[in-house]
Symmetry: C2
Subunit: 486 residues, 2 copies
């Protein structure tokens, strides 16, 4: 912490916040106990109502933004007299699905602190969404508290938007924004999602990969067959799927689907220079993760993130291990996510995948099961489900005044930050950009090794304390003189 | 039914049996209610005790054959004064593992009759092991009853051996036989396992494929990673596994592992001629199973069964469908069974697989997890588990007197039967052959479309009634004059 950079007001804030850490953790624990998975809409709604109350208790005008068929988003607004700028802070309160049996020690919605006392900065809070993405919600609430406790007024009008369907692809966010254009109007948005840098240093990202994905099922015999009586006669769907996947990506990690890398928009000079400033992390990451060779080596992680990716996120066919049975399975399914960079269109990428599958000799049914007739007609039959849709990547130029203002505010409390042209993880920037047309700048606060999207998700406490400082700085950053009162 | 072939005694038998069908089904239902999976040793033991009591009630001397660490086998003996031959009838009472959620209508151990009344020959009894392999046990018991009811005495000394670990690879059968050589001594064995022909005609098999198998896990990053932040940088184990499997077998079903087809012992002329007598079934089977093209076509099923097979019986990595998460999985696992024909050695086949995996650049840990050091050293790391061992194939010559005697007995009640040199499914003939050195002849009774090894296993009732006739015929077959009283 570089105290010499801090104004007096910030020092007061620090003192007040230190006294309130146990209260912050208590409030966070209450929040994490509310299940927040897509399969539980009632749980999601309780989360939204919890946030609305928490904002209202702090004098923020808050409401649920609702459109038919969607999980509500929570909107909040704190108007500051004579402020010339308005910044909207975005986070999401829903979490990835959970598999409780895989969680150690405590369940996904039984928050537990491990590895130290609440005073230990290396202690971690375990629960679904402890990082992704309830931590920024709590950090913003705590920053509002510490400013008030110190008698410091925000320098800008603050708006908040907390979404409830981000992990489900933000499929209704566009409709919610379009129905509430005036409410969400702002000079720019700060997107609070994703992790800090792997070196634990703060980073700001100016774009994020888009995402799409699909489930693909390959069909074998109509019913499971005894592998002795029919083995090497009945076609095996798991083998057909393996051969198909092998045709899609080579041993070095290069995607072999025709046109997969077409149309990628090159990085600008300022972006390339910013990437050079990133500390080397690949070797340390490989050691940490027990990886002898990364895909697409010798390109570094920060480089490959600026390329589209093709990732197998799951495979399933009959059973393995003790549960395996001597059968020829009826089908084999793969789940794939495709990360997109600036220049990729989600639908066009899926079309390239479908064309590749057909080029391999498959009959491909789209979003339906193949018929008996089709299965009797074609030696290789698959069906693809592309229900999740997806969204494109967005990149905000680093040299915009808004970009420079956010960099300055964060560096004031944390010193030099890492500037990423593109975050690897997807945040629904395109869905926002389609409606609001203002700069979108990402300020993440959580640790990179947080098991987000997996079991045993956790938040390192120091990241929470640092995150509160970050929002204090953003809420009180010097207003730009060019703005008009609004 | 060709009544003109039946002796008067058999007609009496038929009449008695018809009256007793509901009693047979009642007893069968009691038997099927006792869970019989390897994970439940107490349940297996209750099955063994149930069979012992059922034999004893019928005047058969019965005992459990036990060796330390093994599930008991049930032995029974019915000595006939002046009989010159002794034939042992083998079946097994254990079943494949079950996944109760996949069973429709009723659970695996809640027998239910569907598709007709008990009088309807096309009605089916659903339960685990209703076919594989409790049906022969019940049919033998019912045949003993109907002979007694008709006052007909068996013509040969009868021995029975019911194993409890066949689906677990018969790993202790050799020890059980070696410890009980005198008890299990017989002129030959009749193996009662497997299905009748797909045309529903009776078949007799003179050998069976052997079997071995393995589980193989390919390793990715040490912990699940967010597929956005690390996708196309962290190596994906599901892709590596897919590429490995694709290298093992081609699109036509030909196994690409070096030496996989070496050493296969060719069929003799009598065996080739017997195969020519098999009615054509491939086209009808393909229509029934919705298969447009079989592996290794244009070879017929009966032909490819005389080749070793390589079958993926299961695949797993993270999750698919609604449970999928945007992660790079930590590992991907395949479960494979390899069917063996005469001339293949199980261990040698596994060695060929391992050599192939290493040839693809993998570091391969055997029956253990790889270490951190190994994972940091090698770009491609896998572990193989070969705990199940396996056994070789056996083929009994069709022209032996024993073979001719069994053919004649079965044809006396069912007319011309199909004679298979090799059954596709594996029965532990080699394990028996290693100890007892007598002819082994397979007489199956259950329907081919029985979902054995899968969910919703079932038995077509007419197969049970026909099976009782089969055992009546075998128990009363004319003794060969060459035998000495024993």
């Amino acid at each position: 912490m570089r105290l010499r950079h801090l104004p007096v007001a910030a020092l007061l804030v620090l003192t007040a916040a230190a006294q309130d850490r146990s209260r912050v953790l208590g409030e966070f624990t209450d929040f994490l106990r509310i299940p927040n998975v897509a399969a539980d809409p009632a749980g999601l709604r309780r989360n939204a109502e919890w946030i609305r109350s928490a904002l209202q208790r702090r004098g923020v005008q808050a409401a649920l933004l609702q459109v038919p068929g969607a999980v509500p988003a929570v909107f909040g607004e704190l108007r500051i007299p004579d402020a010339t700028q308005t910044v909207l802070f975005y986070a999401h309160y829903d979490g990835q699905p959970v598999d409780p049996g895989q969680w150690h020690g405590s369940g996904p919605f039984e928050p537990s602190l491990r590895g130290g006392s609440p005073d230990d900065p290396e202690a971690r809070l375990y629960a679904r969404s402890s990082s992704d993405d309830k931590a920024p919600v709590i950090a913003m609430l705590a920053a509002l508290d510490s400013l008030r406790a110190s008698g410091v007024r925000p320098s800008i009008n603050l708006k908040f938007l907390f979404e409830g369907e981000e992990e489900a692809g933000s499929r209704n966010l566009g409709r919610i924004l379009a129905a509430n254009r005036a409410a969400v109007d702002a000079d720019y948005w700060v997107i609070c999602d994703g992790p800090v840098h792997q070196t634990r240093r703060m980073q700001i990202y100016f774009g994020a990969r888009g995402v799409t994905g699909f489930n693909l099922t390959v069909y074998g015999p109509r019913r499971e067959l005894h592998s002795g009586h029919y083995g090497n006669w009945a076609p095996n769907p798991a083998l057909m799927l393996s051969r198909l996947l092998a045709s899609m990506k080579d041993d070095e990690g290069r995607v072999l689907i025709t046109g997969f890398y077409d149309g990628v928009q090159p990085l600008s000079e300022i972006e390339i220079n910013a990437m050079k400033g990133e500390p080397p992390i690949d070797e340390a990451l490989q050691r940490e993760l027990w990886i002898a060779r990364s895909e697409n080596s010798p390109q570094r992680l920060i480089e490959v993130i600026n390329q589209p990716s093709f990732n197998i996120r799951g495979l399933a066919s009959a059973a393995v291990g003790d549960a395996s049975r001597n059968v020829i399975p009826t089908e084999a399914t793969v789940s794939v996510d495709i990360r997109l960079v600036k220049g990729n269109d989600p639908q066009a990428m899926l079309e390239k995948v479908k064309a590749h599958i057909r080029d391999q000799g498959f009959f491909l049914a789209e979003n339906r099961a193949p018929t008996e007739f089709e299965r009797l007609q074609w030696p290789k039959v698959a069906s693809i489900t592309t229900a999740e849709g997806g969204y494109r990547a967005v990149r905000t130029p680093m040299d915009l005044p808004a970009s420079q203002q956010v960099i300055a505010a964060v560096e004031r409390v944390h010193g030099p930050v890492i500037k990423m042209p593109t975050l690897g993880g997807s945040v629904p920037l395109a869905i926002i950009d389609d409606v609001v047309h203002v700069p979108l700048i990402g300020v993440p606060i959580v640790n990179h090794d947080n098991n987000q999207h997996s079991h045993n998700e956790n938040l390192r406490l120091q990241n929470l304390w640092d995150g509160i400082r970050t929002f204090e700085a953003l809420f009180t950053m010097p207003a730009r003189s060019t703005g008009q009162p609004r």
